[in-house]
Amino acid sequence: MEKTNVNISLVGVGGQGILLVSHLVAAAAMREGFDVKKSEVHGMSQRGGSVTSQVRFGEKVFSPILCDGESDILVAFERTEALRHAGLVKPTGRVLVNDMDIVPVGVSMGSVPPAENLDARVAALPGVMRIAALPLALEAGNARCANVVLAGALASWLPMARESWEEAIRARLPEKLHAVNLKAFDLGFAAASGEAK
């Protein structure tokens, strides 16, 4: 049974909208009849710290959490976090990276050294696809939709139909944000599909 589950880890920095995306994945999967579990940790992690959420779906999901080497997909909303959590991915897995950096406070203050060779190390991640979500979000009409751009890109790797994603977006967000987020989703989906060709 476990073989049929799809295991996704989403990582980034507090405030990037990671939990919205993990919710959309879970809601879209549930709509298609999958068993779903989505885990996240609140609290201290909200204050600019590293944030992780995990979603698993399939016929039957037991453990809500994924350990090292258990994720089919890692979605990193930021490059340093992609490297920090790269160990979560299976050797046969894939990594979707938002091609941007949020400099950790220690680095910007000069108290810890920056990550070395960031670019080369990101390029070497298994099955990596880079998406620059911010320009696409701006094209959609709102910089804050960068997370939904990534959801669209992720959707190109997953079995759920567009209607299920759309329903999840409509159910979760206020009506005035539906159009811009659906556009962001479609731009992310198209960018990832184009990239894959």
């Binding site: 049974m1 476990e2 073989k3 049929t4 799809v6 919710h23 549930m30 298609e32 009849g33 068993d35 779903v36 579990k37 989505k38 885990s39 996240e40 940790v41 609140h42 609290g43 201290m44 992690s45 909200q46 204050r47 600019g48 710290g49 016929e59 999901v61 037991f62 453990s63 809500p64 959490i65 994924l66 350990c67 090292d68 080497g69 258990e70 089919d72 340093t80 976090e81 920090r84 959590h85 790269a86 160990g87 979560l88 400099v103 950790p104 406070v105 220690g106 680095v107 910007s108 203050m109 000069g110 108290s111 810890v112 050294p113 920056p114 990550a115 070395e116 790797w157 997953l158 079995p159």
Partner: protein, 616 residues
Amino acid sequence: MRSARSESKTCAEVARGEGMKYFARAMKKLLSANEAVAHGVLHSSVRVAAAYPGTPSTEILETVAKLRAAASFEWSVNEKVAFEVACGAAMAGGRAIAAMKQVGLNVAMDPLMTIAYVGVTGGLVLVSADDPGMHSSQNEQDNRVLARFARCPTFEPADSQEAYDMTRAAFDLSEKFRVPVILRLTTRTSHTSGVVELPDEPPPARDLLPYVKDARARVSVPANAKLMREAAERRTAALAAESEASAFNFALDGVGGTAFVASGVAWQYVREVFPRCPAFKVGFSWPLPVEKLRAFAKGKTRLVVVEENDPVIADGMRAAGIDVYREQTPLRTGELNPARLRALSAELFATPAPVAAAPAAVPPRPPVLCAGCSHRGVFHVLRKLGATVCGDIGCYTLGAAPPLSALDTTICMGASIGNAMGMRKAGLGSKRIAAVLGDSTFFHSGMTGLLDLAYNGGKVTVVVLDNRITAMTGHQDNPGTGRTLMGEPAKEADIAGIARAVGIGKVFEVDAYDLKEMEALLKDCLDGDEPAVVVAKGPCVVNAKLVGKSVRKTDETKCVSCGACFRLGCPAIVRKARAGEPVNGRDWAAGVDASLCSGCTLCEQVCPKKAFSAAE
């Protein structure tokens, strides 16, 4: 990647292939266990729900409020009051629930130990959300040990569906046995969302059960309590029979002689890692269904108990004479996960041990006080004045981290004042001793400490970081915000007024962003001869967004790279490469990340060279 897209009914049935079906279901929702508990409240005709916010329990009452799931719901000032309110409602004949994090139950232990004697009329449920792994807590106490201590039956949901089912079952059980029922969640169940099947039609609302004054039953003076104590023991025997019969305790067949016993989320890990082994699920965990477990143990070669933190089930089984395997793999501290069970599998079945990925060489990203946080200035001044600082529980605990490094101690909610007094009375050499706590923590349990300080004296300065919100847990209202959870206006509690009323002579209010004034005031108070209270006022920046006039900028030609601004630990102050020649041998100058800056002006106030100013 292979998908498992199949008919939705099939999946739902597979998903609910184990456990009991407590109610007929018709509708599916994606809910966290916290939200599922609130839906259970909605469908249980509950009169009163009360809580004090605390991760990972907070969303229970937030969802109760969103659903308007109870006739009355409140953020109480602390967990003791929340539970006392719930006890009162239950004695009056209404159903009631109180929710708290694990350490919150320490505060509510006093009423719990006696309401368990007195008993209830309406169903009473106490949610304890424990935090294995200490994601956001100061300790890792396993509150399951309190079930036996307080003689309260306990349910341990393993997922959101069970959280819903068990909430409803808990109210029924509570009324049947007139006893409070503990629902024990953990961070992992509380914050995991899963598919929950709910009835379309909630059961009809119920009136209060009749109230009859009965002092012998409800006034716990010794003469009455002695009788209650005997009754509690008889009730425990009856509850044991109920647990033996409960469908929340069940066995799954499997292959081989090694069998598992698990509760809570540990059950999920057992099913994940040992899917073919026989397994016993403990859902109604106190009283432990020892006879059912004894029957399950028959014919098994090894019985392995997997439970998070303390060996509560294992010890209960051993006490009943059931042989439990003693694993070598460490499972007692921290949160369990599939990898730790794979390590156990390596011990049991000589399967390959899991390989942990080597930690990536990347800079850490710890949580920090927000740019523009109103607590920062206080910590900056206290550090400058060389004060010994007893801290408390809240966002401001982050002030302990470098570069602010402002706290000497943090124990529990409200402890700062008593700790600071104790340090003073012990004769600590430090000339300046301060206690620092937030507004919500002050209302929670700082007020009593302050009264003690006023009464017994002691040269301690209490700084209340008054941002008018319970920030750390996600901005809940408190007596200082002027609004209740039900959305009604309330009188705003006045901290300075309370300090004066309990007898503190020196009480000041200060703008949390005015460093000069703050320093003069704190120096005067810390060096004075009597207790003092300084209320540092500044709204939480997450709520207020821009606290000052405008975002700051720097002038590279004025910056001498001294680093004074960096010692504020503000995430908006960044090193940027100098366009011009190095200054003092440094090729960087201070800069401002305009996307993070809140315009609080602290950087401008600490800069000796006036390099910071308002951006256009």
